[in-house]
């Protein structure tokens, strides 16, 4: 297909049936609406373009900065759209917890403002939340900004009313699904799709999924926070259910490992939440039903989130010559040299960070940070066995471990500076800068 402009590629995403072998429902056909296949990678492409388009003319003429309160996908889509039109984009957030997404946004040229946290000593006169204050500055400053306002802007929901919702009906041969399940962030997608299905005369059961209060699933709100969303109307949903981060990850794994769908956590949550909900109904059904859930975005941005919660998924084989393989006895028995002994003829390796080394170090020492040094050792000794070596770290613990490792690797004269560079300093021995 040939396009003049990438925005033409937004929408018309596939609706893909999930293999019943995978979900196990007997009387329900379950479909995934693959919003991850939008050009910028998420369901928010539609909303971002729908909200920004009417503002573009004036914004471009004035050279305004596009501003949005977003921690992820909306920011990503807006950054790309703003960039296409030569406009700066700024994302204001207190929710951005995923390092990959931050880095990606910076790469796209976005500015990111993180709002301050709660104060430790309460100022009772200060009841404005940072977001409210942000809204107010945007409203009063007036100049130089356009604010897409995704939590309150009806054009967010409209994008899904005229797009996502209609597409689902068309792909189901003109019949609205019996069940629709979506995670709720700004409520834009679920509200818009629900309106489209109901406008079609269907009495689809709409299930909204939010995170439990103390949980965190990037992209969606918790059961309390959802009430802060202007587009959120409890009347839209037949049920609001909570989904845990654990369930979302289980669902994600099913989608990526069994369904060929590179879904992120909220797509996984929607799958898992849909199956959990539908399972309670499936057995008692007498006719065939259909259900649709949304896969909002892609998995690649969430590797650190997954690594933190399921380290076992990333299990790697142990490296050769690693510190972790040393016993306490080997470390305790590592050769050492005390402060004051001669270092004449020794190669002195300072294992601290390069900033610390540059600030002050032992004259004549070289700096190889411990991480780099450990990597080097996995391939073998980086210096000759005939070269005496003294290792230096802050208090003599890391250096003892490395001395033990070098000894095990067959180095006859690798010693640790006992007490480390702090003992060296405390003894009044000289430290230099170069």
């Amino acid at each position: 297909m040939k396009y003049d402009d990438i925005t033409e590629a937004i929408g018309n995403t596939p609706l893909v049936r999930i293999d019943p072998e995978v979900h196990g429902l007997r009387n329900i056909d379950l479909y995934a609406k693959l919003e991850l296949l939008n050009p910028f990678g998420s369901v928010k492409d539609r909303a971002a373009w729908s909200m920004l388009r009417p503002m573009l003319g004036d914004a471009v003429r004035r050279g305004d900065t596009v501003v949005e309160l977003s921690s992820g996908n909306t920011a990503k889509a807006l950054a790309l759209l703003a960039g296409m039109h030569g406009l700066p984009f700024r994302s204001v957030t207190n929710r951005m917890k995923i390092p990959e997404i931050k880095d990606l946004l910076l790469l796209l040229g976005a500015e990111i403002d993180e709002l301050p946290g709660r104060s430790e000593c309460l100022d009772p006169a200060d009841t404005d939340d940072p977001l409210t204050r942000m809204y107010r500055t945007l409203q009063t400053s007036g100049e130089g900004y356009v604010h897409t306002d995704q939590y309150f802007n009806e054009r967010n929901a409209d994008a899904h009313f005229s797009g996502t919702g209609q597409e689902i009906v068309k792909d189901l041969d003109g019949r609205a699904p019996d069940y629709f399940v979506a995670c709720v962030g700004t409520a834009g997608s679920s509200t818009g799709v629900a309106r489209a299905l109901r406008a079609h005369g269907a009495d689809t059961t709409i299930v909204g999924l939010v995170a439990a209060k103390s949980d965190f699933i990037p992209g969606i709100r918790t059961i309390d926070e959802v009430h802060e969303v202007g587009l959120f109307d409890p009347g839209t949903y037949d049920a609001i259910e909570t989904i845990s981060a654990d369930e979302a990850i289980d669902g994600l794994l099913t989608l990526v490992r069994r369904c060929g769908t590179l879904s992120g956590p909220t797509g996984g949550g929607a799958y898992q939440g849909a199956v959990r909900y539908l399972r309670t109904i499936d057995g008692s059904l007498t006719s065939r039903k259909s259900a649709v859930f949304i896969v909002c975005d892609r998995v690649e941005s969430y590797l650190s989130y997954l690594r933190e919660r399921r380290p076992a998924l990333f299990g790697r084989p142990a490296r050769a010559n690693s510190l972790g393989s040393l016993s306490a006895g080997e470390i305790a028995g590592a050769p050492s040299v005390t402060v004051g002994a001669s270092l004449e003829g020794c190669l002195v390796v300072d294992l601290r960070s390069s900033y610390a080394y540059q600030a002050l170090h032992i004259d004549g020492s070289i700096n190889i940070g411990e991480d780099v040094f450990e990597t080097m050792l996995s391939a073998g000794l980086p210096f000759s066995r005939r070269q005496p070596v003294v290792l230096v770290c802050p208090v003599g613990e890391k250096s003892a471990a490395f001395a033990a490792l070098l000894t095990r690797m067959g180095h006859p004269d690798a010693r640790s500076l006992a007490g480390g560079i702090i003992a060296w300093r405390d003894a009044g021995a000289p430290l230099v800068r170069d």
């Binding site: 951005m96 301050p116 104060s119 430790e120 000593c121 939340d129 960070s353 900033y355 800068r433």
Partner: protein, 486 residues
């Protein structure tokens, strides 16, 4: 029922269990009565020291005196390894009189000439807040031929790179961005002032902001070294927090219900529908909870541990490792956290009456004596019965909760603006104990407006044979033999 049950350690619990003790003390000394527990102090200091040890760090733990005026607690801190952070000339005198030698005292806060003189005369570290203060210190040292003063500079307004981490505006500190000017000024006053470290204190619970500030201070110290200065300390201030509540679930349920009450989806839970900062605008919740996060899974020494394990945003290595690499000492100034479980405030119930659907309980104390509301800490008091409860009285007869009113002739004098659920309806003569008030909630705001007397303060401790012994706060010295509570 929407309980917010407080976290109570065994020492405080044993005070509460001995109902007669509190009864006798209130009878003799009046209501409200502030009870401090010096025996708990050592364990709190030790918990912070453990966090240091885990990261192999050295440096001093300064107790931030401002959190409580008690002499007994201060003297008990003097008997440990801790130092003290004083924030006024009065606190400095108090600390010197409590037994702290000047090498264990850090003078912070906005400073008068008198305060600067006493600090320089005794040789305590002056934690300077502004260029003017530093210059005034130098001129005092010169004019009165005082010994060269040891100083830290408090930095603020740190810049983050990449993601802009914003912090609330602070009145205090040298702008981190003008470090060159600050070091020029220190150079100019080099004969009179010796720079021993740099500092920050941020009023936030957010680790990310503190990580930016800590890394900013590391960069500043590197810059000092490039200039030939040799400061060795990095003071990260206070703000480690306390976990006040026993149960995370209760806190979550309470705050969820409060939001629903503000939205009008359930009956009000507060006096006049007070929203604690939340409000409803066309069915959407606006504002934010202006409350202390009363349930904090990570607080005090654990919070310090977590901060030290957090990666520096730029150098992307744990802050504790960077401090150690640079051989810097870490100084901290915890106030609230070092007073965790170190005291309670007891008040007598004067009257219980029904008012429409509400039950009002008037206490013999006012909202400035127990400043839970002022500090936004929501936690239930403990009912300490004085009168024998008649057998037939049901355990929980009023599930709707009670409002606690103060004793001042003032509409706003509410001890709690929320309904508090107690295990049973209180009666006149009962005592209510507000636990864990030693940090800021006890005497920070107490006044004698309307000539209502401020509460007395007593230090109580458990002697070797398990009996309680008590002293008026000003008469307590840490010289009795006491079993340490761990």
């Amino acid at each position: 029922m929407l309980y917010l049950k407080p976290r109570i350690d065994p020492l405080t619990q044993s005070v509460l269990d001995d109902g007669a003790l509190l009864g006798r003390l209130v009878d003799g000394l009046g209501s409200p009565l502030n009870v401090v527990l010096p025996q708990r102090v050592g364990a709190n200091v030790a918990a912070f020291r453990d966090a240091y040890r885990r990261h192999r760090l050295n440096g001093r733990i300064y107790f931030a005196h401002k959190a409580n005026r008690s002499s007994a607690l201060l003297r008990q801190f003097a008997a440990t390894e801790a130092g003290v952070d004083v924030a006024s000339v009065g606190e400095l005198q108090h600390a010197l009189g409590a037994g702290f030698t000047p090498d264990r005292i850090m003078a912070t806060g906005p400073k008068t000439r008198e305060y600067l003189w006493l600090a320089a005369r005794t040789g305590v570290i002056v934690n300077a807040d502004s260029p003017a203060e530093l210059s005034e210190l130098a001129s005092l040292v010169a004019a009165f031929r005082l010994p060269r003063a040891r100083a830290m500079v408090r930095l603020s307004r740190f810049q983050s790179s990449g993601v802009r981490v914003q912090s609330r505006r602070s009145r205090f500190g040298f702008p981190a961005g003008s470090l060159t000017e600050t070091l020029d000024l220190l150079g100019k006053h080099g004969d009179h002032v010796e720079l021993v470290g740099v500092a920050y204190h941020l009023d936030t619970v957010e680790l990310r902001e503190k990580a930016v500030a800590l890394e900013g201070c590391l960069a500043a110290l590197d810059e000092c070294r490039a200039r030939g200065l040799r400061p060795w300390s990095l003071d990260i201030g206070g703000g480690f927090g306390v976990n006040y509540l026993a149960d995370a679930g209760e806190w979550e349920r309470y705050t969820s219900e409060l939001a629903q009450a503000v939205l009008g989806n359930r009956p009000p839970m507060t006096w006049g529908g007070h929203g604690y900062g939340l409000r409803a605008e066309s069915g959407t919740l606006r504002g934010s909870l202006a409350l202390y996060p009363a349930h904090r899974p990570v607080a005090g020494a654990d919070y310090l541990d977590k901060l030290l394990g957090t990666d520096a945003p730029d150098r992307r290595r744990p802050l504790g490792e960077l401090l150690l690499d640079h051989m810097y000492d870490l100084d901290v100034e915890p106030g609230r956290a070092l007073l965790d479980q170190c005291g309670l405030t007891v008040a007598r119930v004067l009257e219980v009456r029904d008012d429409g659907d509400d039950v009002l309980v008037r206490l013999d104390c006012n909202a400035r004596d127990v400043s839970l509301e002022e500090h936004g800490v929501l936690m239930d008091p403990v009912l300490v019965p004085r009168l024998r409860v008649p057998k037939e009285e049901p355990a929980a007869d009023r599930s709707e909760g009670v409002f606690l009113l103060g004793n001042l002739c003032l509409e706003s004098d509410l001890i709690t603006r929320r309904k508090v659920h107690l295990p049973r309806r209180p009666q006149a003569g009962d005592l209510l104990a507000f636990v864990n008030t030693a940090g800021y909630l006890m005497d920070f705001t107490a006044t004698d407006a309307l000539l209502a007397p401020q509460g007395r303060k007593v230090a109580i401790h458990r002697t070797g044979d398990g009996a309680w012994s008590w002293h008026l706060d000003e008469n307590y010295w840490p010289i009795h033999s006491q079993p340490e509570v761990s």
